[in-house]
Amino acid sequence: MSTQTAIEPAAERRESGVPIPVASPRELLPYWIFAGLVLMLAIYFVGAEEGATSVFSGSAIHELVHDARHLLGFPCH
């Protein structure tokens, strides 16, 4: 995050026992946008679809995941 740690030589960090970050924020951005969106959608369908808001009409999805929605703590009905 801070530029100070980003430009610190990797060898120096390894010696000091500080782990080296695996990716720059730039490399992470597409993962956050695409994977983050898909993961959010997955949680939405378990947690809120056909309850507060609906993408599909009917109640089959709501009823299928009904017990999981309750036991995971989402407001259900």
């Binding site: 995050m1 740690t5 960090r13 000091s16 026992g17 500080v18 782990p19 080296i20 970050p21 695996v22 990716a23 924020p25 490399e27 992470l28 993962y31 956050w32 994977a35 983050g36 993961l39 959010m40 997955a42 949680i43 369908f45 378990v46 947690g47 809120a48 309850g51 507060a52 808001t53 009917g58 109640s59 089959a60 009823e63 299928l64 995941v65 009904h66 017990d67 999981a68 929605r69 309750h70 036991l71 995971l72 703590g73 989402f74 407001p75 259900c76 009905h77």
Partner: protein
Amino acid sequence: MVRTLLVRGMLVGLVVGLVAFAWAYFVGEPPVKAAIAVEEAAAAKAGAMDEGAPEVSRDLQSTLGLLTGILIFSTAIGGFVGLIFAMIYGRIGALQARATALVIAAVGFTTVVLVPFTKYPANPPAVGSGDTIGERTGWFFVLIVIAIVAAVAAGRLIRDLYARWGVGNAVAAGLLLFAVLIGVAHLALPAENEVRTGFPPQVLWDFRLANLGTQAIIWSLLAFGFGHAAERALAGKPLLGRRAAAGASAPTT
């Protein structure tokens, strides 16, 4: 590496979901069934029309439906843990892989589960009016967003203070800031109490404990399972097995 961490987070989440399902099925379903029985008894007494058979039978809801919902949720949470790990590993002091995974899961459980639980606790079926579902769902997610923002603010405060104050004091200051922000949110957000008079309190208590247990299993097992998986990924090892992955450099120990 980001891809590996994302995939491993989701795989660990999937396996963790199986354990959470076992808990939810054996511990969570009895109060759910009891709550539905209370609802049906109340409806029969009021002389209300039977709602008719649901589209998905109760037997399917309490088994395959429960399994599906929990597996999707815990896989998605595992994916997020993997992405957050890729973002913060190597950037919070000298914390190693397992400790980083533990911090992510602890903060995640607090912000996504504990904080909303204290204001809008989970309710079993039969508790809650369909008229306010939109409002309640909205405030529930607003509180989660507030908790995440408060956690980020606390994290930044700790980062700014630890060189001068030392880690212990900086973390204490961060926790205090988090508590104050959540306290303010608690006072500012509207209360939603849907539990009707006469609903058996023991069923409500059992259900809420089952809810907390399901989430605690998901987040705690993710902390340890993903910590292990991430450590192996960083050492170039496959998720399972003893040999190093083909093409990956052997760990230098």
